[in-house]
């Protein structure tokens, strides 16, 4: 996993409620068996005027009205979003696409649970700030070309230049994983003996959970 400690970057505003993962990365791009190649199709239906298919080699027609295509937001690494960002499908392709595009953190009033979790496992930091702060940030970004933020995970604070915008919460374990770039699987495999003990106890209490299923093909 990519480490995350501190990110300073240009902010791109996506002023829409309930942005779902179907919008972040449409279904036709989910047929891939690799973990990369999704950045080019991030927000595909909004970002391009023509319909996209995986592996398409013809040039696309960008939608000039879509915020990601505006010259002033090129190179943005922080996405400013509205409530319930990432709702819908559990596809981890959504954080993969955002990261590959260059987004390292998303600032919003709330996130859908699965998306929030998937983001943390990939080093994409979801930052929850109060609705009123988000409203002010949308105004500030609109008003100021080149508006950027600094997100500091160690202190759990967001800054605009030297002004503190707000503090955010994150589970201590998740913060540690992000700061160190730790892999959940490696951490869990180091607890193998505890898992075996648990299984032994459960085999005794609830043996039907471990019965070999019948009729496999």
């Amino acid at each position: 996993m990519q480490r995350f400690e501190r990110e300073t970057g240009l902010v791109v505003p996506l002023d829409r409620l309930n942005v779902d993962t179907d919008a972040i990365i449409p279904k036709q791009f989910l047929k891939a068996v690799a973990r990369s190649g999704f950045g080019i199709n991030l927000f595909d239906n909004w970002r391009y005027l023509d319909h996209g298919e995986p592996g398409q080699e013809t040039a696309r027609t960008p939608n000039p009205d879509f915020v990601l295509n505006k010259p002033r937001y090129q190179g943005a690494s922080i996405l400013l979003a509205r409530a319930n960002f990432g709702c819908g499908s559990s596809r981890e392709h959504a954080p993969w696409a955002l990261l590959e595009y260059g987004i390292r953190a998303i600032v919003a009033p709330s996130f859908a649970d699965i998306f929030y979790n998937n983001s943390l496992k990939n080093g994409l930091l979801p930052v929850v700030l109060p609705e009123a702060v988000i409203d002010r940030l949308f105004q500030a970004v609109e008003a100021t070309v080149g508006y950027s933020l600094t997100i500091d995970l160690r202190s759990q604070r967001v800054f605009a230049k030297d002004e503190e915008i707000g503090a955010f919460a994150i589970d201590a374990f998740r913060r540690e994983c992000l700061l160190e770039g730790l892999d959940d699987i490696g951490w869990t495999q180091a607890r193998e003996a505890e898992i075996r003990d648990y299984e032994a106890r459960r085999r005794h209490e609830a043996p039907w959970l471990f019965a070999q299923a019948k009729g496999h093909s």
């Binding site: 309930n18 068996v33 690799a34 973990r35 559990s90 709330s110 589970d171 201590a172 898992i195 093909s217």
Partner: protein, 467 residues
Amino acid sequence: MAKTLYDKLWDSHVVRELADGTCLLYIDRQLVHEVTSPQAFAGLRARARGLWRPEANLAVADHNVPTRDRALGITDATSRRQIEALERNCRDFHVPLFAMDDIRQGIVHVVGPEQGATLPGMTIVCGDSHTSTHGAFGALAYGVGTSEVEQVLATQCLLQKRSRTMRVRLEGTLPKGVGAKDMALAVIGKLGTAGGTGCAIEFAGSAVRALSMEGRMTLCNMAIEAGARAGLVAVDETTITYLAGRPFAPSGALWERAVAAWRGLVSDGDAQFDHEWEIDVGALAPQVTYGTSPEMVVPVEGRVPDPAAERDPARREALAAALAYMDLRPGTAITDIAVDVVFIGSCTNARLEDLRDAAAMIAGRRLAPGVRRALVVPGSGLVKRAAEAEGLDRVFTEAGFEWRDPGCSMCLAMNADRLESGERCASTSNRNFEGRQGAGGRTHLVSPRMAAAAAIAGHFVDIRHDL
């Protein structure tokens, strides 16, 4: 201390709890499909990791599979590669798989319960948000991402924090023609699409107890559309009767022991929930969505709302954008909305009871002239066979519906079944997001009865009075 059903399920699966409350949680069952698993298996291969307990997994291809002419194979090369990857991964890692030509193949959330691979008291995950479906059995079931699919394959565990608890009591007797789908949509309409975020929702009350397992699955399936990762229904006789004799369910003395344990999978009488809601469903109307989020829903006798009446600016903008996408004018009566396509299927509504409900609305009539296509996609090969044994396939085909092979199909349009841009669909699926059923397609979520009635009338109808 009194415990909720959620607490009981959670507590019995904690392997280790960390200082900040993060728990190493044991997962009893993982369901695997072709779309969200290839990168997980690739991750295992890259680090030479094996599977912890291969037989705890059950795999089936559903998202991408064609729903007709299967003998010809999969013509779309990228879809075929993904399904072949699943077959190869299952073979190499010894994961049980129901292949595409197996009668048991179908939508993963239909197959698990049908096989008894979903059991009360289990923790169940799948790389699919509608895993909440399995909570209908008093199991803790939720969708995960591909990194977590890989972790469960490798360790049978996940690192998670406890959710908050919410109870939604649905009380009263449902009017005739109104069912679990209408309750689900009404709950989402009331809570909003983020109302359940961070929560596990237990559905309780007399109207839930009166539901069949199929209806409870429909209700829990859509808990995710209210933002909740998990839906739950307490175990009762309906649960136990449904599971008896299923292939993966225990039998003999083990069955008796299991049933005795399962009877305790209810919230204690004085258990405290973080949030409580009560909805009287005694006068509930059939529900129809009009927008691009499942919370944009009204009763069938209602009208498309006016953005101008919305005071919150962000919501006003969202509603205006939704109506523009849906090509609907404020004030339009729902029953005046004509449909081009009808889709009966998905993990929400493709079980035998759903097909019976839809067929009962048709009874000898034909598709309205304006309806270009109407698809019935059974949830599994076994559902299809059972429906055919009752003659339901003939009811549908004689009316002009297409009778297809099982899969996710037009719910998310990853295979060839999709809406063309601008087409309007009455759909029994679970999401009406922009482009969900095909780029530019317009989705109205309804129950199987309402979808069938719309196919016959050519527009939405109040099935309590008409047809």
